[in-house]
Structures are given as C-alpha cells and as structure tokens.
Amino acid sequence: MISISTLWRVAGGLAAVLLLTPVHTQAQDLLNQLESQSTDSLRREYVTATFKGTRVINGHSIETPGKGSLVFLISHRFGTLNSGAYEFFGLDQATIRLGLEYGLTNNLAVGVGRSSLEKTYDGFVKYKAVRQSSGPRAMPISVTLLATSAVSTLKFEPQPERSTTSRFTYTYQALLARKFSSNLSVQLMPTLVHRNYVALRRDENDVYAIGAAARQKLTKRLALTAEYYYLLPGATADDYRNSLAVGFDIETGGHVFQLHFTNSQGMIEKFFVPQTTGNFFDGDIYFGFNISRAFQLRN
C-alpha cells in the first residue's frame, strides 16, 4: 500500500515540474497568448481587388480608381477575325477609345472618353454604394452604381439635320459582385440603355439587359475573364445579338493588360449592349485589348 507521505512527495514533485518547465517555450507562449487575445476578428475588413481593372472587358467592373488616382485607359478593337487574309484577319482595321478616369474619393469616380466609333464622347459617374466585407456586420456582396451618357458627334449630312438632344444616349447600371475566393469573382449587371433617338419606328428607346461576368485567376498575375450581356426579350433582342467576350487579364506590376475576343465592336455601353451584330460562333470576333496606367495626383 502506498503511504500518505509518498503521495505528498509525488504531488510536490509534480508541482515543481509544472512550475519550472515553461522557460524555453515562453517566447512562443507569449505569441500564442497575444494571438489568442487578438481582436483582429472583430475588425471589419473590406474585400479588395474583386477585379483587376475598372473594366471587366467591354463593360465596367465594380472597381473605381482610388482617391486621387487618375487612370489613363486605352481600349482598342481590331476588325473581325473572319474578314480574311485581305484584311489581315482584322488587324487592318481598328477602333479605339481613349479614356481618363479619376477617383474623387475611394468610393466615387468620374470619367470621360472618346470613341472613334461614331465619333462619340462619353462621360460617367460611378459610385461604390456597398462594399463586400468580413468581420462584424459582414456584407456578402459589393454594389457599384454607374450612370453614363454618350454623345455621338457624327455630321448629319447627308442625313437631315436633327436636334442635339437626339445625339444622346444614357446608360444606368447596378453592378453587383462577389469575390468568392482570392481566385474567383462573379458580377451581375442589370442594365438600362436609353436612347433619345432611334432610326426606325420598331427600334426601342429603352433597352433592358442583364449582364454576367466572372474572373478566374489562373496564376498570380494571369486571370481568365468572361462577360455576357443578355438582352431582355423585345425588338432589340430580335434584331441584335447578345454581347459576349472572353479574355485574359495580365498584370505586369505597374499596369494591367487585358487581351480579349468579343463579338462587339464598341467599347461603351451604348454600342455593345443594344448594337452588337457579330455572331461570335461564325467568327465575327473582334480581337482587342485594354491598357490602363494609373497616376497618383493627390494623396
């Protein structure tokens, strides 16, 4: 039978061991302690870089330039791939849009642009209304609101003179996006294009569409992108095609190159939403690219 004194001795030994051991692991313990008391999970954190650029391909993404940042954006589309060797598979032709966009705040941006197609000037206001976040009161999606106007400045002759108002087209979009993981982002874009003037009686002044877009990263600096605008049933949907685009985002450090294939020639909403004529699967595919360069004007 074990005596009481032996028990005491064992207990004393155990106590001594418990009190004296933690010396060499203390630094690690301090770190663990620090992390266990961490309040990081209580911090609200906004999700960033849902998309790499302010455009997915043709259309806008939820992203805006940060405060004080001026982005110079060159968008370019060649002719169609099926135009044959005579047109060098489209490379002989080109349409271009030059644009500037500026972040007034981290959530509000304005931009202007000029497309060679129909000599069109455009301007827009873009506002990040809701930002996806984690932590307390987490928000599952981001919502950016976009309003654009475009004015075609083609000469009227030989057509009869019209009012200046007839040159204007407006687009309203709600861009809803979620970054599911660091690799996958998905966006939905309910869209309304209002045209002050349409050439034919059967053409619609208001065109409704729903867009969907996604980005899947392939490597750290290369991503696959896709964008599709579905025209809601109506005369426009009967006469025109839905815009489809697929491409790659390539990041080189300072800027992002976007290379893509699309059945739309224009690079602003008034062209690619209601006026796409190309049949992607017949080879009416425009090869194109967007290049952006950011300059920080103000901190």
Binding site: G12, A15, A27, L34, D40, T48, T252, G254, A294
Partner: protein, 186 residues
Amino acid sequence: MKPQVLFIVLLLGGLTALPGLAQSKFLTRTGSISFFSATPIEDIEARNEQVGAAVDVQSGQIAFTVPMKGFQFPRSLMQEHFNENYVESDKYPKATFSGTLVNWTPAALPTTGPQTVQVEGDLTIHGVTKRVRVPGTLEKQGNRLLVKSKFAVAPADYNIEIPALVRNQIAKSVDVTVNLACNPAP
C-alpha cells in the same frame, strides 16, 4: 523538511510568482510598424498602426503580430499590389515575431532613458520563418514601456517575388521601423 511543507512552500511560491509575472508584461494592440523602400526611381512607404505586441521584462521575451492588410500606402494601387501579389495577405494574413532579449536581466531596464538591446528570434513573413537578430531600445516612461527598433528585411529572403518590370522600383532591402508604446498587462 517534511514533504508536506515542501509542497506547501512550492505551492505558495507558485501562487505568488504568477501575479508577479503578470505585472512584468506589457501589451499593445495599436503599435506602429512602417517600412520604407528607397530606389532612385521611386520611394515607397507604408504604415501599419494595428500591430499587437507583448513584452515580458521579467523573462526578456518579446512577441509581435502584424496584420498584413493593416499596411496603409499613399497609393491605393500599391496597397492592392502589396496585398495581392507580394505578401499574399489572403494566404498569409499575419507576420509574426517571437524572440528574446539577448543577455537580458530584469535589472537592465533603467528607470530613465532608453536602453539599447539586441533581440534574437523568429521572424515570419509570407509564411517563411527566419532567425534574425536586430537592435532596438527599451524605455520605461511612467508606467508604459516604449519599444523602438529599426532593421532591414530583404523581400527575397521571404520568397516575396518581384516581377522583372518593377524590379528597379522596389528596394532589395526594405527598412522596417518599429514603434510601440506598451501598457502594463492587466
């Protein structure tokens, strides 16, 4: 001595030692770490005010935890690139340091003026852990403990890849400045 007495002495010793240890600890959740990358083309500076740190002046242990997304850059695009491409904050949300003051005795902490110290320990950035030894100072100010340190970190040591196109704009060795004002742990 009887074993019973020995046990009670040890127990009492343990109990009294614990609050003593607790009081020797200093903590902060709002420490500051900034880094500076200087090249002929571009200077880049970022600051993080969300550093958690603990110092035990009794044992000379020191630990840090740095949420990588807390670094604020003057340019939003730089901040995005830093998080997305360089330190991969989603994958490696924190940088940590866990080390000890070299040749430390609690008596070495003067009541006035900064005390120069060396710290040796494990620095983990971008999932890579390196043994480092850096200089710093400790200073007792009222009941607070001020910790300052300045050292260099080479991004390449921590597998932080920098693409060729911007290689000339990011320094091979980045200066890190640590500035903490720790309060006594409750």
